[in-house]
């Protein structure tokens, strides 16, 4: 699946998901175009992470389907689907017993790339996420700061040139300054790579900054799907509740950018 430079489409078709009688996702339908960054925004328990995990087949809809590149996740060979999708989660996702080089080179290694090729690629990727390869390749995750770990996580997700990137609150555990740096890096990488991305967060500022569109989830339902500009003007109750955070939180340059 990792054909260089390719980028994917994702379509949610009437996706519902329930566990033990609890409806987690309620009839979710929307599609994501190539190169877009759709941010799934919502409070804890809104179903945003569940929706994300359905894209790479960690979970499957109870009813409805999710189509990646036009094919339902249930029809995909899961291994090849997943190897074509980069996945970044909060802090803990790195393999603690692997060095940075082994972490970054994992998917290429699973895909059977020759080792010289993996080494070149790993160095290139570390450079791209702002880590000096000579200094970091042989370290273990425990020898890195939170921000550095997250950079390695991004490099690992990009390693086999996936056509789709999933981010599950990747910057949630970082201090505000580091978070801002990584958001900048995310924007720079996005402009350079133009890969379809889905980004989960509960931080409305992050959503406004990073998304080309924002999908607001509330108790499993899609409340709003809008560009950041439209989102700021939206009148829905849930949207207003999120936007109220902007008035009360510390100043932030999301509005300047828009």
């Amino acid at each position: 699946m990792p054909d260089a430079g390719g980028t994917a489409t994702v379509e949610f078709r009437q996706v519902s998901y329930s566990v033990g009688g609890n409806l987690i996702l309620d009839n979710l339908s929307f599609s994501i175009e190539p190169g877009e960054t759709v941010v799934l925004l919502g409070r804890s328990g809104s179903g945003k992470t569940t929706a994300l995990k359905m894209v790479n087949g960690l979970l499957f809809p109870t009813t409805g389907e999710i189509r990646v590149d036009g094919r339902a996740t249930t029809e995909w060979d899961l291994i090849s689907l997943r190897r074509g999708i980069g996945y970044v989660i909060q802090e803990v996702g790195l393999f603690p017993h692997f060095t940075v080089a082994q972490n970054v080179g994992l998917v290429p290694r699973l895909e059977g790339w020759p080792s010289e090729h993996i080494e070149v690629r790993s160095k290139e990727l570390l450079q791209e996420v702002g880590l000096e390869p000579q200094q970091f390749l042989t370290r273990h995750p425990r020898e890195l700061s939170g921000g550095q770990r997250q950079r390695v996580g991004v490099a690992r997700a990009l390693a086999a040139d996936p056509r789709l990137l999933l981010f599950d609150e990747p910057f949630g555990a970082l201090d505000p300054v580091t978070r801002l740096e990584l958001q900048d890096q995310f924007l720079a990488l996005r402009n350079q790579l133009r890969k379809t991305s889905i980004f989960v967060t509960h931080d409305v500022r992050e959503a406004l900054r990073l998304g080309t569109r924002i999908a607001l989830l509330d108790r499993g339902r899609l409340e709003v799907l809008a560009t950041p500009q439209e989102f700021l003007r939206s009148e829905g109750l849930v949207t207003r509740a999120f936007l109220a955070v902007l008035d009360h939180g510390p100043p932030m340059n999301a509005n300047e950018r828009l």
């Binding site: 960690l58 899961l78 997943r82 996945y87 996702g93 393999f95 017993h97 699973l110």
Partner: protein, 206 residues
């Protein structure tokens, strides 16, 4: 050590004891680790199997050796019965630590391994087992040290080993004989504890 031939006897029985422990542990590891791995994939069986292993541990060792004697095929007098009993004893710590070690792998790590497109086998060999190695080895170490001690009782059913000295010493109220069995057994236990502890520390991953 004023008795002629005592040293030779000590050497012979110590090596017999060592072989008894080695064979029992090899079998217990060969059963316990794969069974432990299997249990991580079959949650409903965990209670039953751990329960069985727990019950085995609660049976006093002398009684367990005795219980096995009348059982056909595995029973009787001699080394085979002794090994069966020692394996049953060693199983619990190995089984439990394998289970706990693997289930203790951070679920975020496991999830990202799957999300990277690892197969079940790759997940096991490249992520779960390396991260659980220390815990599993700790179980093997505990089981080994216990087995060195328990194996002295094997002599009661004709299993040989250092227990021969101890039972003989008790019967003839001869402290030298008892020490001739107990001291090498203690040394053996300390050595295996130290050796396995050293291996365990080398797996200081994570």
């Amino acid at each position: 050590m004023n008795r002629p031939g005592l040293l030779d006897d000590i050497l012979e029985l110590t090596s017999e004891h060592f072989v008894l422990v080695l064979v029992s542990m090899a079998i217990a590891v060969a059963i316990g680790i794969p069974l432990g791995i299997l249990l991580t994939r079959r949650a409903p069986l965990q209670g039953w199997v751990l329960g069985f292993a727990n019950v085995m541990q609660t049976i006093p060792s002398l009684a367990l050796f005795g219980f096995l004697i009348p059982i056909p095929l595995i029973g009787g007098i001699g080394k085979r019965t002794a090994i069966v009993a020692l394996v049953l004893y060693a199983l619990l710590p190995i089984l439990r630590n394998t289970l706990v070690g693997i289930l203790g792998v951070d679920s975020a790590v496991r999830e990202s391994a799957l999300a990277m497109g690892m197969t079940g086998r790759q997940l096991l060999w490249q992520v779960e087992l390396p991260l659980a190695a220390r815990t599993i080895l700790a179980g093997v170490r505990v089981a080994t040290v216990t087995t060195v001690g328990t194996a002295t009782i094997a002599a009661a059913i004709g299993g040989g080993g250092l227990g021969v000295f101890i039972f003989r010493g008790i019967a003839s109220v001869d402290t030298t004989q008892i020490l001739a069995g107990a001291v090498p057994a203690a040394v053996l236990a300390l050595l295996s504890d130290g050796g396995l502890g050293w291996i365990e520390r080398r797996f200081s991953a994570a």
